[in-house]
Symmetry: C2
Subunit: 189 residues, 2 copies
């Protein structure tokens, strides 16, 4: 997606430890007009799949997932929660995730009430690097016996292990921007 | 907003400790079509204000704020972060908040790059009870010398101290559902 690649080139900041900071438009301040275009792209790609639910993870995936839902005719959006919330009572699906940027381990949790065997799920997230978060979301779908129809990712670092890891499960990953190298500058696939 | 009151009556669950659980449509699973209607209502109410930024707090405010932004012509949406993220570097505005439902204290943080003196801010959040989160967001706007044009809240428990606390600061609060009493059943104002 050219619009997104241009935005990453203009506003993305490379930090130490192979971190790409895109907080001016994606995960702290949000450019909702761009999110809307992203939602449309995900719809164009996945529109022939039978999708009745969008699953994402707090917090950065929520804005994109919501904009995406509009194009798919408003399927329910579920966002997985990190950690333990006293407000998440009852039966939950749970999977551990190790955050790449924060270097801590979370519980990723989804209430069993909101993910069922009959669900055909599109998973949406902002980044795919080592694939920890995505792996947790897929694991949770499998616990629920739901069908994962595909993953829509805003930015994939395709030189890290996550992309291959998810594709090796037989799951389709569609990324709006694919980074193949990121040293002094960002190179897209 | 009748549509919302009906939804709360139908799907809201009263838990011990005066907690209203609305996770089937607002803060775990999201009914994006309803969120879209909420966004329109906030726009109808605040459309004559000069708003160039929407501020909310992760995670439950994000979906509503994003849907709201569409109606206001896509102002930037900023979501405040809770806790400490290694990805939030540089100068930040910070305020402590004590969560009502989780009974823990957070740092509420916004990067100084995304909130400026010239900003006219609409604050959006899902719940107003004791007003801790809203107070933190207002405090952060004041640190930035930004103008708070008003607060748009999905559900206000008007019998708790938050509403008066915010109004006493001279700030307008517009709520889509006002609960005046919540014992065996929910009574709206």
């Amino acid at each position: 997606m050219k619009l997104l690649e241009d935005k990453i080139r203009e506003e993305g900041i490379l930090l130490k430890g192979n971190v790409l900071k895109v907080d001016s438009f994606l995960n702290h301040q949000m450019d909702v007009e761009l999110l809307d275009e992203m939602g449309k792209e995900f719809y164009q790609h996945f529109k022939d799949k039978k999708i009745n639910k969008i699953l994402t993870i707090e917090s950065s995936g929520i804005g994109i997932a919501v904009m995406c839902a509009k194009y798919f005719g408003y399927p329910k959006v579920v966002f997985a929660k990190k950690g333990n919330s006293s407000n998440l009572t009852g039966d939950i699906y749970c999977c551990k995730e190790k955050s790449y940027t924060r270097n801590v381990e979370y519980n990723v949790q989804v209430s069993k009430r909101f993910l069922k065997e009959e669900d055909h799920v599109l998973i949406i997230d902002d980044f795919l690097a080592n694939g920890e978060a995505l792996n947790a979301l897929i694991d949770i779908c499998r616990q629920a016996n739901a069908t994962v129809e595909g993953c829509g990712i805003v930015i994939t670092k395709s030189y890290q292990k996550g992309l291959k890891r998810i594709q090796d499960m037989g799951i389709e990953v569609f990324s709006l921007a694919n980074i193949k190298k990121m040293e002094n500058e960002i190179e897209f696939v």
